[in-house]
Symmetry: C2
Subunit: 232 residues, 2 copies
Amino acid sequence: MCDHCGCDNQAGHEHRTVSIEVEADVLAHNRDCASAIRDRLAAKRMKMLNIVGSPGCGKTALLTTLIPKLTANRSCVVVEGDLATDNDAIRIATTGAPVYQVMTGTACHLTAHEIDHALSHLPEEPGSLAIIENVGNLVCPSMFDLGENLRLVCLSVTEGTDKPEKYPVSFREADVVVITKSDLDPYVDFDLAACLQMIDVIKPGMRCHVTSAKTGEGFDSLVSEIERLWEK
Amino acid sequence: MCDHCGCDNQAGHEHRTVSIEVEADVLAHNRDCASAIRDRLAAKRMKMLNIVGSPGCGKTALLTTLIPKLTANRSCVVVEGDLATDNDAIRIATTGAPVYQVMTGTACHLTAHEIDHALSHLPEEPGSLAIIENVGNLVCPSMFDLGENLRLVCLSVTEGTDKPEKYPVSFREADVVVITKSDLDPYVDFDLAACLQMIDVIKPGMRCHVTSAKTGEGFDSLVSEIERLWEK
């Protein structure tokens, strides 16, 4: 009989209880750090986005299309999170926005402490926008507040209709959903209406933008969504 | 000055050292459990696959195409891992293979202990194949041995060429790469040759199969790859 879950297995098992206690401690520290970042940026009328989503869902392509539209109104800086390589930072740099790459090694998400570090390497112009591209992962980053004002979860049409239902925490913890790669819709079995309905069940009233970095679809409404942050 | 990393930040920070010690403990328990499973299955001439990959990379579609081809030779059972829903188990059940759904809640990967539980709910026929479809995540499942004999990492052409380089651990820890959704290749900027070259740098000699569950491409070689497990 297993001591931990009462099952019949004699084999080794994880000490989940211990793991969860440490996790709670880590999350509490992270929250404090995130709050401090948010307060500091607020004093400069700066806003911050945290962009999460699966590997290859189009987060970087979204940014290389979005940033030139945003910089018409205000300057932007970008923090890139990846386990390895600075491939994405190089792509972002083509927009002219200052960018800082955080390499997380084996860690599956960014932490507020890493964002604090990263921001210290970037200009913090009053009224500007900081954008975080999180590690590609539709699970773990959802637990970590990074001090952002708006969290966007990206979902590409190639990933399938049922992802909001299968990864509910990432969608529940986000403020806005960005459906990406709408140009591929004719070639995949993605049911947009069903997906939007599913999102509305998980988080009623959630705002969704359907976009394509290839055709430019949906970017005007996304820019307006972000600009509204300064009206609050 | 931060005590943990020596940086100038006064704000909260994570106790990574503590976290890593607990992680090492968890991983050691997991390894013991995985070894016990592997030994138990070996005594029955059973083999097990562990299929990992991003959300929506086509793991379930791969299986619904693959299983009917495998069951010509031997019976298969499937363990499905998801945070929420039994959507995938329902899809797998259409193949006739017995399937057990593990819902991980907020956990980003399956553990050997969960596999041990799941297998106790499934037939363990001598000479049969057990298949694990892991939680959609290209980071965390790579750390957890589940007692499998072959780990397949899936990468869809829609995710982009550079994913092996950006998520090296998942590729290094796998035995075989399965490129999925090759039918979408004409519509995306995926460079297969460059991707294969990148994989060969990360893990020289890695075997790769280019597949499409829509056209059936690559499934004969994948079935042969799996059947070779019994020749060892």
